[in-house]
Point group: C2
Chain length 435, copies 2
C-alpha cells in the first residue's frame, strides 16, 4: 500500500491523470471484447475499462477480490457518472477463489432473508445494505450530538446484574462464578440513579430480552438509546425533549448521511412543530367512534392494529408521522411509573408511535422514597434485591423522567423495511446466534 | 418546577437579584446562630446564609434533601468564590429523613472502598466522584470525535455469541432458549468483518471477561474502545492512528472537561510527537542490561514490574508517558495475529504502556483466507464454529489492523487512581454484581 490511494469518489478531480484506486472487485462484465471492471471502496464505485490483455491478472478470480488498479481517468459520456478509468494495471491484494453465495451488485438483493442473514458477513458489503448500516451509526451520532448540546452526560451501565429489573420473565441468565447473573433488560435503574449525580444522562448500548417470540418487530438483543433527566414538571417535559432529540437525529442524518438517504430513497418523516398527542382513553374512544374498532374500549393497552390506525390518523389529520399516546393505564406500566395525579388509574407515561409502530416508551417516574416502598408493596415487587438501588430515592431524587428509543426499530420505520432484522448489524432472535 | 431555575454556576451574574436555585442539600453548618447551607446542582455548589427563623423548613431533614432556594445574591469577600445568597426561602422537593452512610462533602471521601462501592448509588454524588465519572464520558466523546473526523463508522456488535472468540476459558455462558450462548469477550471478529464493509470502524461497548482474578487492574465487565481499519502497510500504521486517537482524546478533555481536570488536579500525560517504541527482544535486553532484571530474557511476555520499568524509562529518556512495545512473540498472541514477515517467531503486534501499565493491545491481523486456515490448524482452533465469520476472509479482506483501549484503565492511569474499580461506573468483579 505504498502508493498514494485515490478514492473512487475523487477520481473526477483527476481527469487525464494516472491514479491508483484500491478496493473490492464489485463486478466484472465482458461485452464484445471489452471488459468493464467495477471497483468498490468505502466512498462508492468506479468503472474501469480493460482489454483482454490488460485483464489477464484477474483470470480465475472472483468478485470481492481485493485489488489496486492504476489507470488513466477519462471523461466518457456513456460511463456511470461520465467518468471511467482506462489502460489499467491490476495488482491483486487478496484473491478470491470461490464464487460468492449471491451477487451483491444487483439493484435489489435476490437472496431470501435467512440466506442473506447466514451470509451477512459478506452480504453487508452490498451498497444498499452498507447504507442501511451506516444510518444506524448516523442515528446514534445524532442522538448523542443533540443531547451533548443539552448538557447530558453519557454513561455505560453494567449489563450483568444481580437481579432482573423489570420482571422475572424474559430475562437471560448467566453463570457468574457459580451464582446466577442476569443480562440487563434495560439500563432503567442505572439511568435513574445517575440523574442523582449528573441530572441529565443518556446511554447507547445493548439490551437483552429473552422474549420467546419470533416476530418481524422484535429482536432478542437490540441497541437502546436511553435518556433520563431531572427537574421536570411531568411527562410533557419528557415528550418535548424527545421531539427535540428526534429532530436532532433527522437534522444530523440530512447533514451527514445524504448519500445514504438518497441511495435508499428514504422518505424523511413528517415532523410538525406540534406533534399530536392523544390521552389513552380518548384514543380508545376515537378508535371506536371514528374507526369502528370494536375491541379497543376498556382494554388496558393498544393492539398493533390500533397503533397503525392512529399512525394513519396523525398523518392524515396532523401531517405528522409521529403521534403520542399518553396516560397508559397504570396496570400495564412498570411499578416505578408516576401516576396521573388527577386520575391515578392512568399514568404519566407515553408511547410515541412512528408511522403506526411504537418506537419509544417513556414517562415520568416516581421520585419519592415512600412512593417506591408503597408501589413495590402494591406490585408485590421484592425490595431486598434492590436495596442498593433504592438508596438513590432514600437519599433525595428530583422529579424525573425519560425514554428509550429502539435503534433498529427507528431505522426500520425510517426506511420502511418489512423486518427489523434487516436494520440490525447481526440480528439475534430465538433461532439465530450467529454470525 | 414552574419558576425559572438559575444554576449555581450562574448566580454571580445576578448580584442584587432574587433568584431560585434547585438541587441537593450538600451540606448544612450552624456557626454562632448563622446557618450555612450549601446547595449542589450539576454545575457546582452555592452557599446560602440563613437565620434560625429562615432555616425552619429544613428542621429534621438530612443532607441530600432535594430543594429549591429562592434568595438574593450578594457579594461577600469571605464566601466561597466571593458570592453567596441571603434572605432565603426554602421549598422542599424531596425530603431525606435518614443520615447518609457517609459524608460526601469532605475533601476526600473517608469511606473504605468496599463501603463506598456498596453505596456508590449515592456516593457518586460527591464532587470528585462525579468528576471522575464525567471523564469517562469525556474519553468516549473524544475517541468518537477523533475517529468520526477520520471517516470511521460506528458499529454496535452482538454481545451474545454462539462461540467464544478468543479462548474457551474466561468466558461467561448464558442460557439462550435452551442452548448455550457466550458473552462476547471482545468485538474482535465483528470489527474485522466490518472492515470489509466500511473499511474503518469503531465500537464503544461492554466486554465480558470471566477471569477469576481479583486484582486492582481487572474488571469482569469493562468498556472497550475498539478500532479496526483496512489498507494498512503494517502495525506501524495502526500505532500512528492510535497516537492520533489518544491526542484527540486529550484535546477533547482539555477543551470540554477543564473543570473536572482542575477539580481532580489531573496531570495531563506527556505525549511527545514521537512516542518511543521498543521491539520486544530489544526491550528484554534493555531490562536485563540497563536495569539488572534477571527474569526477563527468554520469557514470552513482560511482567507488570517490567512494564513499570519501561514506563519510567520512557518518561526519563523520552519525556513520554507512553511507550510502545512491538513484536510480542507469536505464542502469546491470538491466532489471527499477523507474524513479522522478517522473523515469524515475533508478531506485527504491540502493546502501548501508559505510565507503566498496559493500556492498549493492538496489531496487524492476518487477512488472507489461507493464512486463517493454516493458523487455525496450527493453533488447533476449531473452524466449524466460525464458518460464518471466516467468510469475510474467503471473500476478500485487505491488510488490516486495530486496537482496543480499556476505558476504565485509561481514566485510572490518567488520574493516578490506585484501583480500576474507582474509575468504573458500577464495577463488576468476582464478588460484586450490585449495585
Amino acid at each position: 500500500m505504498q502508493r498514494h490511494r485515490t478514492f473512487t469518489a475523487e477520481i473526477r478531480d483527476h481527469v487525464g491523470e494516472r491514479v491508483t484506486i484500491t478496493g473490492w472487485l464489485h463486478r466484472l462484465r465482458a461485452m464484445g471484447g471489452v471488459n468493464f471492471v467495477i471497483l468498490r471502496d468505502r466512498t462508492g464505485t468506479a468503472q474501469v475499462v480493460a482489454t483482454e490483455a490488460e485483464i489477464t491478472p484477474l483470470h480465475g478470480l472472483h468478485t470481492e477480490t481485493v485489488l489496486a488498479i492504476t489507470g488513466r481517468v477519462v471523461e466518457t459520456p456513456q460511463a456511470p457518472g461520465g467518468i471511467e478509468m482506462v489502460e489499467p494495471q491490476f495488482e491483486i491484494i487478496s484473491p478470491v477463489h470461490e464464487a460468492t453465495p449471491f451477487a451483491i451488485y444487483k439493484d435489489r438483493l435476490r437472496a431470501s432473508m435467512p440466506v442473506f442473514l447466514d451470509h451477512a458477513v459478506f452480504g453487508h458489503r452490498a451498497l444498499e445494505r452498507r447504507a442501511v448500516l451506516r444510518l444506524l451509526s448516523g442515528v446514534m451520532g445524532g442522538f448523542r450530538e443533540t443531547l451533548n448540546q443539552k448538557h447530558f452526560t453519557e454513561i455505560q451501565s453494567p449489563k450483568l446484574v444481580e437481579s432482573a429489573t423489570e420482571s422475572g420473565a424474559n430475562v437471560f441468565a448467566a453463570d457468574y462464578f457459580g451464582r446466577t447473573a442476569y443480562l440487563a433488560q434495560s439500563p432503567q435503574f442505572y439511568k435513574q440513579i445517575m440523574v442523582g449525580v449528573f441530572e441529565r444522562v443518556y446511554e447507547v448500548g445493548p439490551v437483552f430480552r429473552a422474549e420467546p417470540h419470533a416476530t418481524s418487530r422484535h429482536l432478542n438483543q437490540y441497541v437502546s438509546l436511553d435518556v433520563e433527566f431531572g427537574f421536570i414538571r411531568d411527562h410533557f417535559d419528557v415528550m418535548e425533549m424527545l421531539i427535540e432529540v428526534i429532530k436532532g437525529i433527522i437534522e444530523h442524518l440530512k447533514t451527514h448521511y445524504a448519500p445514504e438517504l438518497n441511495l435508499l430513497k428514504a422518505e424523511l418523516p413528517l415532523l410538525p412543530d406540534k406533534v399530536p398527542h392523544l390521552y389513552f382513553p380518548e384514543a380508545q374512544q376515537m378508535l371506536h367512534d371514528q374507526f369502528g374498532v370494536n375491541d379497543a374500549l376498556g382494554e388496558p393497552d393498544l393492539a398493533p392494529e390500533h397503533e397503525r390506525i392512529l399512525g394513519k390518523w396523525a398523518r392524515d389529520n396532523h401531517n405528522s408521522d409521529f403521534v403520542f399516546v399518553t396516560g397508559y393505564p397504570m396496570v400495564k406500566r412498570p411499578f416505578y411509573t408516576h401516576p396521573n395525579p388527577a386520575d391515578p388509574r392512568y399514568s404519566n407515561s407515553f408511547d410515541l408511535l412512528f408511522r403506526g409502530l411504537e418506537l419509544v416508551t417513556g414517562g415520568q417516574r416516581l421520585h419519592q422514597y415512600q412512593d417506591y416502598l408503597d408501589a413495590a408493596a402494591r406490585f408485590r415487587y421484592p425490595l431486598e434485591p434492590f436495596r442498593y438501588y433504592f438508596e438513590a430515592f432514600k437519599f433525595g431524587m428530583p422529579p424525573h423522567g425519560g425514554f428509550a428509543i429502539g435503534l433498529e426499530r427507528f431505522v426500520t420505520q425510517l426506511l420502511g423495511l418489512d423486518n427489523v432484522r434487516l436494520a440490525a448489524l447481526f440480528p439475534r432472535d430465538m433461532h439465530r446466534l450467529a454470525p
